[in-house]
Symmetry: C2
Subunit: 255 residues, 2 copies
């Protein structure tokens, strides 16, 4: 492994709980595991919404096997996965939320209905049909996998308390833009805060509210690096200002 | 619903068993539902290969929960889903295969190992590690959903006997090409074999070995239509010749 030549500046990363919340918030469908009448595991595709504490809201029909399963046995597990991008289908982020599906009551029922419709807009045509039931999955176990070697279990309390990354929706296009138009800025980050003083090139692989993941090339070989923003992005459009600040700071270190 | 003005020519479609086999053959990862030590359903992402009879081959580590689960209880279910394309996450194809995971022996073990590596090439680095076990999922139940209103159960025998669609890998680009460059041919298919003699436009929505799904516009409204090839495509590159023949036949009907 190629190491930096100077100690890199500390750079915060998302916690596993934040990773899990971000994945769940970024998607609207997942795979549900329920139990058949024989106690066999049954997998199916479901749409879901998300309550403010990260609990998924399901909306299933008893005309479907998973709907009949949940009515009989509340135990369920929901997997939310990023679309596999590269050639390796397992080098991708996913999270399993396991717990019990409960029918919400009172104000929570209205909130759950609204959360489901916000995520699955076309369900407005059948959301109140009699064969459908709205469930809230009470999360008792959380297992996050970010790809090879990045994985952790998360306590239900940490999951509930964590905030989804507000810049998740714009990160992919920001990465594309940095790589297309700002190779010089990425190189300054690699040579400055990341400590690869002999870097000859750097590409951005991921962006999040706390910073950027880089892949750095040096005459000695290449390596991953992390560079952090001065302040976490607080808003969905925060990446631009944070990246400008990080670029300015990196160039100042090299001046 | 807008109806054709003349009886459409019969047009074969894939059977539910063929749909299921095609989905499984076209992908290399899915969602596995297994049972925890408490008998709870547990969902996780897995890579899989496929044996010639459509049985999925899994390769799981006992360092992972699903690997420990399968060692304890062989019951499992695998969901393979198309990537959600449109705005509705449930209007997409998926199939659930349920059964028992068995450790293959003898010649089948070698075939299973080869099938898994063919699908998950990067697993060559760890395929023979001691914590990993190769399983064949013996398919006992098959449930296919093609989107809203297209769904069916499939017997395990029909699933095993069906052939994956050989043109599945080129269908999306063929559809794009037809819509971009051959609007006149699609219009001839709509006005000819599909029976919409007053069609003013047609777009192709799907292509498979047996024919094309169209969306036809007429002054009376629009409607879906199906047009069939003279012969099913037998090879992965068969769509071009079949579409040329269908275009010629459609134009002859209108001449």
């Amino acid at each position: 492994m190629t190491e930096p030549l100077r100690t890199p500046e500390p750079a915060r990363v998302r916690t596993p709980a934040e990773e899990a919340r971000t994945l769940v918030a970024a998607h609207a469908s997942g795979l549900l595991a329920t139990l058949t009448s024989d106690g066999d595991p049954w997998g199916s595709l479901v749409a879901y919404g998300t309550l403010p504490d990260g609990a998924p809201v399901l909306h299933v029909s008893t005309l479907a096997e998973h709907g009949r399963n949940l009515r009989r046995d509340a135990r369920a597990s929901l997997v939310v996965a990023e679309a596999a991008g590269g050639e390796d289908p397992l080098d991708t982020g996913r999270v399993t939320l396991a717990g019990r599906a409960e029918v919400p009551a009172g104000a929570e029922a209205a909130a759950a209905r609204a959360a489901f419709l916000a995520a699955a807009e076309s369900a407005r045509h059948y959301v109140d049909f009699g064969d459908f039931t709205l469930y809230v999955l009470r999360v008792e176990r959380v297992r996050w996998v970010g790809g090879y070697g990045r994985m952790d279990s998360v306590t239900p309390d940490d999951y509930r308390a964590a905030e989804p990354d507000p810049v998740a929706g714009s990160a992919a296009s920001a990465v594309q833009h940095m790589n297309a138009d700002h190779a010089d800025a990425l190189l300054a980050m690699a040579a400055g805060p990341a400590g690869f003083t002999d870097a000859t090139a750097a590409v951005c692989r991921r962006a999040d509210r706390y910073g950027l993941d880089l892949w750095v090339t040096t005459p000695r070989g290449s390596a991953p690096a992390r560079v952090g923003f001065a302040e976490p992005c607080a808003r969905p459009d925060g990446l631009r200002a944070a990246t400008v600040e990080l670029t300015r700071r990196s160039r100042a270190m090299l001046a």
